[in-house]
Subunit: 587 residues, 2 copies
């Protein structure tokens, strides 16, 4: 986390979202802004001093599989040790469970700084935090002591093992089998066998033990398993089994995936139970696997979006610095000038910088606004907040992922040929970010979630409530009458469109164009946030920030909002295209 | 070049563009379609057998700088030797000069197949062909014999040395100096000193000699050089000097750039004249350097676009194959189905495939249509063709470059996590393609060329003539009345917009938004081509191709054309944004 990013996070948290007000609630009683700032200071220092310096090295020196064990780049291993030693991973863990119990908005802000510095490093932490939370929420006291506690104490890290070589997005089809072996002090015990693909931090030498949460199917008395999502259960399968001396469980690393980016995080193909079967214990009830996993998945999805936002922000910082320092050419309005100027003076470079700023800060705002919703749900438990969070989650996952790449595309353009070389960080940020539209559910999967589950499955209720919230923002933004009008026009557009979508007899026609909806809706959501931010900054104490937000908002309404109608076109004018087109067109 | 790509190229050349008709012209007399097909057959075989098999290896085993010389990946070196031995690089060289004298449309089609197979390999050939053509066109007989002839005979390859570490897009500012040393049998001789950056194939072990074309400034009697573009001259500076035994010229490889992709092509920082000065001979007149170089640059720009189109096409082929084979999930309209289906059945995957097809084939059509314009200029020399080619060149460079990346983004999405790994070619195609919006003039530079030179500098004449051509296409496409109407509406939109642009007192306000214009105009140009292709295919003999083109055209008009208005918004609603925004907004 740089000072520039910290300044932005402070604005978002304290001036815009007014996170201070959480201190008045019982959930966060005894905490105040000073505590949170101290936590952010420590996070910032560790990101900057431990994780950023090895950003390039973690890419260059990929994890190695040696004698069945994965070795992580040395500096990254040390950085993770410092992070765990400092207990930063305990930020949002309940105080009762030994954590700091900070608001998620604050811990999310800190995490974004780590992601901006070294996203591959952040993945270890992020997954483990989500894993421990699942065990804390659904595990037995024995499971919590044996498998959550070591993660909280920084002695183990956790993973999520969902996909299989032939099963990516359709998790109801997993074939990993769990044969029941009765019950012991750690709960219902099983022998697990199966192959799990794409397991981030699936093996490493950062901590001695690794706690895998494995999605599988419990074998029924007849020897079969139940089909579909409701046939899935979740199992804790540790690398080292409890007991002294700790014995190795039957888990082997069958291979490492070699990726375009995100290279510092080992991505493993894990074989469970190649020998006698790996030993695991069920968390929660049989058949609840996917349901429980979705808690972890939703947290992971928000974190994917957050990493997209964080990397976009780092790209924007690097670009504006480069544009101010790089001297070349004369601007189009002053071609006869004798000496060349900083490329910041070129209108096209300014346009790209404004786009980067609007995307990076808009995406960060989206993530932190959602984190605050989680905090609000905790402090006052209003149905409307939960519904809004559910509605926004696919946008939080996908908009920063897709638009973060757009902004990093511009970061490379601003750097010219240099931006295409591995000497400059924007090159790696672009490759690292390319994972985001894929993992934890592709953009297409998010779109189906948004349109199918969150809109059609809800009769549009959360959506219409959200449009009312947006209209309130427009009403309150009296200093921005043009933008407020535009936002209101788009509320009407979405109201009409969603009304149409609900009226169609065949919902699959709408689902077929779900990605077009997600694209347009994402831009609309961020337009709402930009107006809200600009209005808040205008009433805030910092005139420089107020001016910055006003210009970025003007850019967003001038150049991005006009794209929305075009994005939505497939939902209105040729809805049956993908159904009508015959297979043989695809050769 | 795959069979699928060959089928597409055959359609474009013979069914759509009716290249056969060129055989009736004097310039190509004695040639016919059989000759061209035989040439395409040979190109296809060499691309498939020599270049495609080492696609991954050229990426993995980057060129090495050893003892001052660059070593290229071994299989690529052999593939290039086969290509040169077969004389394929002579395709579009005049018969008088020892070439095959084929139409550029045919040789361009063949080059696209090579680029699809191994773009890093194609770069060696492409640059050398352009280099030799400059020497043939502007060199003295002695220069042609000494420096073009060895390239034609496959004993040398050529480069273009324009950029310097501090000079990328502003070539009038180059600082490479050339001190005159009188005249010898090779022309005006100079001692050259300077540093040249981003030199593709700047050194290698493919051929013994390398012919550099170096942009520099002739030192004047007073010891100074002339400022700006008109102070530039062009020099031939060979790696080995003529004479036996050949002596090494004073050129050293100061370093290699390590790139995101395109890794098989060594990209060098070359120092000229670190010792006594490198020896070079001027081509053309003093002061004409940049003007001459622009012939080479225009050819290179079209080839950059072509490579974007070619890689997009390969990505589309790989995606549709993967989508047909990969079994996963149930389509949104049949969720209760027992067994999973090929992902080709998912509407969102079909949408992405249609987008890939529309971009890849649209981009190829754009490049070949432009190549045919070059052929027509040769056979009948009409001013209108030249003006249209000038107008389209920035689009040919930039649309396949930018949209090719969009289509390869979708190729990775279709492959899911696998697409992000280096085991699958789409990962490398994406990295390789990322260079295209940068080299030979960034997208922003193309936009300024389009709006400044080709539209405002021409009082819109070529543009208005082009709109008339588009209207003719709409009139002729009677089988597609809706698309024709939409195209006509967009003609009116561009007519109004360009009229506005010409009326503004301050052209820099328009230039400031040139990239927005290029984005929208590029989509419009390809919409025109799609309607023209679909109409031609509908009247052709192949019903399968007619159906394919009809569906892709329907996709383009349903999902892409509606984006145009949004792309153009900055030109109409907030034209002064980048001028008004103060510097301190950028921190």
């Amino acid at each position: 986390m740089t000072d520039a990013m910290r300044r932005e996070l402070d604005f978002l948290l304290f001036d815009w979202l007014k996170v201070d007000e959480l201190a008045d609630s019982e959930a966060f009683s005894g905490q105040d802004r000073d505590d949170w700032s101290a936590f952010l200071d420590l996070s910032q220092a560790i990101s900057a001093n431990e994780f950023l310096p090895c950003y390039k090295a973690t890419d260059r020196d990929e994890p190695l599989l040696e004698n069945g064990t994965v070795r992580v780049q040395e500096d990254l291993r040390k950085a993770l040790a410092v992070y765990l030693e400092a207990g930063l991973h305990l930020a949002s863990v309940d105080v009762d469970a030994g954590g700091m119990g900070l608001p998620l908005s604050v811990s999310t802000a800190a995490m974004s700084g780590l992601m901006a510095a070294n996203v591959a490093g952040s993945a270890f932490i992020m997954l483990s935090a989500a894993n421990a939370r699942v065990i804390l929420d659904f595990g037995t006291p024995g499971q919590i002591a044996a498998f959550a506690r070591p993660q909280l104490e920084g002695r183990a890290l956790g993973t999520m093992c969902l996909s299989e070589p032939d099963v990516g997005s359709s998790l109801g089809d997993v074939t990993t089998r769990a044969v029941p072996e009765g019950k012991d002090e750690l709960g219902h015990r099983y022998r697990i066998s199966g192959r799990k693909m794409w397991i981030s931090a699936g093996d490493h030498d950062v901590t001695e033990n690794i706690v895998h949460l494995v999605l599988g199917k419990a074998v029924q008395p007849g020897g079969g398993t139940r089909p579909g999502p409701k046939g899935t259960s979740l199992f804790i399968v540790p690398k080292l089994l409890p007991g002294a001396p700790a014995a190795r469980n039957d888990i082997s690393v069958a291979g490492l995936n070699h990726k375009m980016g995100y290279r510092g995080t080992p991505n493993c193909l894990l074989n469970f139970g190649d020998g006698d079967g790996a030993i695991g214990w069920r968390v929660g009830n049989e058949g609840d696997g996917l349901r429980i996993m979705f808690q972890m998945m939703n947290e992971a999805r928000i974190n994917v979006g957050l990493s997209g936002a964080a990397m976009a922000h780092r790209g924007w910082e690097l670009s504006r610095q480069y544009a101010a320092e790089r001297i070349q050419g004369r601007p189009v309005h002053d071609k006869q000038r004798e000496t060349p100027v900083a490329i910041l003076r070129h209108p096209d470079v300014r346009r790209m910088l404004l786009q980067q700023k609007a995307i990076a800060e808009g995406a960060l705002a989206l993530c932190l606004r959602s984190a605050l919703l989680c905090d609000r749900i905790r402090t006052r438990e209003e149905r409307a907040d939960t519904a809004l969070l559910d509605l926004l989650t696919p946008v939080v996952k996908s908009w920063p992922s897709e638009q973060g790449l757009v902004s990093l595309h511009q970061a490379i353009q601003i750097h010219g040929g240099y931006g295409y070389t591995r000497d400059f960080d924007v090159e790696q940020l672009y490759r690292d970010s390319r994972l985001n539209p894929i993992h934890e559910g592709t953009t297409g999967i998010q779109a189906i979630d948004l349109v199918g589950r969150k809109i059609l499955g809800d009769d549009g209720k959360a959506m219409f409530a959200f449009l009312e919230t947006v209209r309130q923002t427009a009403r309150a933004a009296s200093a921005f009458p043009d933008e407020a009008d535009t936002l209101r026009e788009h509320c009407a557009l979405f109201e009409t469109l969603v009304g149409e979508m609900l009226s169609y007899a065949n919902p699959s026609e709408t689902l077929a164009n779900a990605t077009a909806f997600l694209d347009g809706f994402g831009h609309f959501v961020v337009a709402w946030l930009w107006l809200d931010m600009a209005a808040a900054a205008g009433q805030g104490a910092n005139p420089q920030i107020a001016e910055e937000k006003r210009w970025a908002c003007r850019y967003f309404y001038g150049a991005e909002v006009p794209k929305i109608a075009g994005m939505l076109a497939p939902l209105r004018h040729d809805r049956t295209l993908t159904r009508d087109v015959p297979d043989h067109i695809f050769g």
